[in-house]
């Protein structure tokens, strides 16, 4: 098996065997979208209007929720040093790692996002577009969470630092992803534009973030 495939497969396997796989982010996401209406109130038209936005926001939080483990564990158990000495380009390696983890743990988010939006009273088509936008946002969200996690690796109570670093960086992708669902709900033609912009942010993050993550890992080891 080639090196990057091995990293991807191992991350996915480790996420399943120890971290409960997709259960953690999914449970967090479900809890957030279940509790939100209790706070907002029972007005049906209000709920369907905020539905797409809540889905994007809750998905972002559930990605952040496990960000400390992604590179924090590697830092603590000596894996990070071995990665840097493996001879594989660190940027490619961390990209494979983040994507392996995301594929194993974040796949339920678009599904729950679609069903959740419909439960909020959003019609099927806007709910599907919102789910597509979540899917397009996952690479950006998980790489930004990974970058923050790598910078904070090995620091006690790294969660605070991760939230401070990642939250501002996630602003564009949240605006576009939630905007796609919202415009689709309002029957606005900007839905597709927002969807494409979400994808563009994800692609840009995929191109840049791995270098940042690799540099962060190296600096945390020196």
């Amino acid at each position: 098996m080639n090196a990057l495939g091995a990293v991807f497969a191992r991350e996915a396997r480790l996420a399943w065997s120890g971290g409960g796989g997709a259960a953690g982010p999914a449970a967090f996401f479900l809890a957030a979208i279940t509790l939100a209406p209790l706070a907002i109130g029972p007005a049906a038209d209000l709920l369907s209007a905020v539905g797409p936005g809540i889905m994007g926001f809750a998905a972002l939080l559930s990605v952040l929720q496990s960000a400390d483990r992604l590179f924090g564990d590697d830092h603590g158990d000596g894996t990070a040093e071995l990665y840097l000495l493996s001879g594989v380009s660190p940027a490619w390696l961390v990209l494979a790692k983040v994507m392996g983890q995301a594929a194993a743990t974040l796949w339920p988010l678009p599904v729950i996002g679609c069903l959740g939006a419909m439960m909020y009273g959003v019609p099927v088509q806007p709910a599907l577009i919102g789910a597509l936008a979540l899917l397009a946002a996952i690479p950006a969200l998980s790489l930004i969470a990974g970058f923050a996690g790598a910078l904070a690796a090995g620091i006690r109570r790294s969660g605070l630092l991760i939230a401070l670093i990642a939250t501002p960086m996630m602003v564009p992708v949240l605006i576009f992803a939630a905007g796609a669902g919202r415009s689709a709900f309002e029957g606005d033609e900007r839905a597709v534009a927002n969807l494409l912009l979400t994808l563009a942010v994800s692609l840009g993050t995929t191109a840049l973030a791995p270098f940042g993550i690799a540099a962060a890992i190296r600096s945390r080891l020196s």
């Binding site: 098996m1 040093e81 071995l82 840097l84 000495l85 080891l221 020196s222």
Partner: protein
């Protein structure tokens, strides 16, 4: 005691290289730990570094691996600095064993073999050499500290790199484990490999050069 010939995995020949360190100075947190340290490690050599806690044994190993930039001096693998050469020449055993608690040695070692482009066929013979082959399907969290260390040593050998940097390799090992470590190191040196180990224990490796790092302050 296990003889060196009993560890005989089928592995490609080592790309041997000489490590040269000259005039190295290292400081951590404003405190100078190592001053004007020089060393030449030719293929087949072994160096045992000792010294009280805090004398910079780990820092020195980390500098050799390229994780820390030295304040002065030069580190060369052949003609190359650590940043370019470490991944080609170094087998690394740090403080931590690099094991995931929910992963079995079988999965972990297969992964490291795949990642570093080595054959998986050497895993079993090397595990037999460290007497951990019966634990191959047990998650690392259920291995003892010594068994984890032995598994990590198998990973170092599996990498098929010529220069091993070992930080307290025998720390949690029992007498039998130390003998097997000695046999593993003897096998590696016989192939043209070299070893630098930081250790507090009296390791009986034949013709190993001993360096007291406390004397370099």
């Amino acid at each position: 005691m296990q003889s060196a010939t009993e560890i005989a995995p089928d592995m490609p020949a080592l790309a041997t290289e000489t490590l040269r360190v000259s005039g190295l100075s290292l400081a951590r947190g404003g405190i100078e730990l190592v001053r004007d340290f020089s060393l030449e490690l030719a293929p087949g050599d072994a160096v045992l570094m000792s010294g009280p806690n805090g004398t910079g044994k780990t820092t020195l190993l980390r500098a050799l691996a390229g994780f820390i930039r030295p304040d002065a001096g030069e580190i060369r693998f052949g003609d190359l600095p650590p940043g370019e050469a470490a991944a080609d020449y170094l087998g690394w055993l740090g403080h931590a064993d690099g094991l995931k608690h929910n992963e079995t040695p079988r999965s972990a070692l297969r992964f490291w073999a795949d990642l570093t482009g080595q054959s998986r066929k050497a895993i079993l013979p090397l595990m037999r050499g460290m007497a951990v082959e019966s634990l191959i399907d047990r998650p690392a969290s259920r291995l003892s500290r010594g068994q984890q260390r032995r598994t990590a040593l198998v990973r170092v050998a599996l990498s098929n790199r010529p220069i091993w940097l070992l930080d307290e390799p025998a720390g949690p090992l029992d007498g039998g484990g130390r003998a097997r470590l000695a046999a593993l190191v003897a096998w590696h040196r016989a192939r043209g490999g070299s070893v630098i180990a930081a250790t507090h224990q009296l390791l009986d490796w034949p013709e190993a050069k001993r360096i007291d790092l406390g004397a370099h302050r």
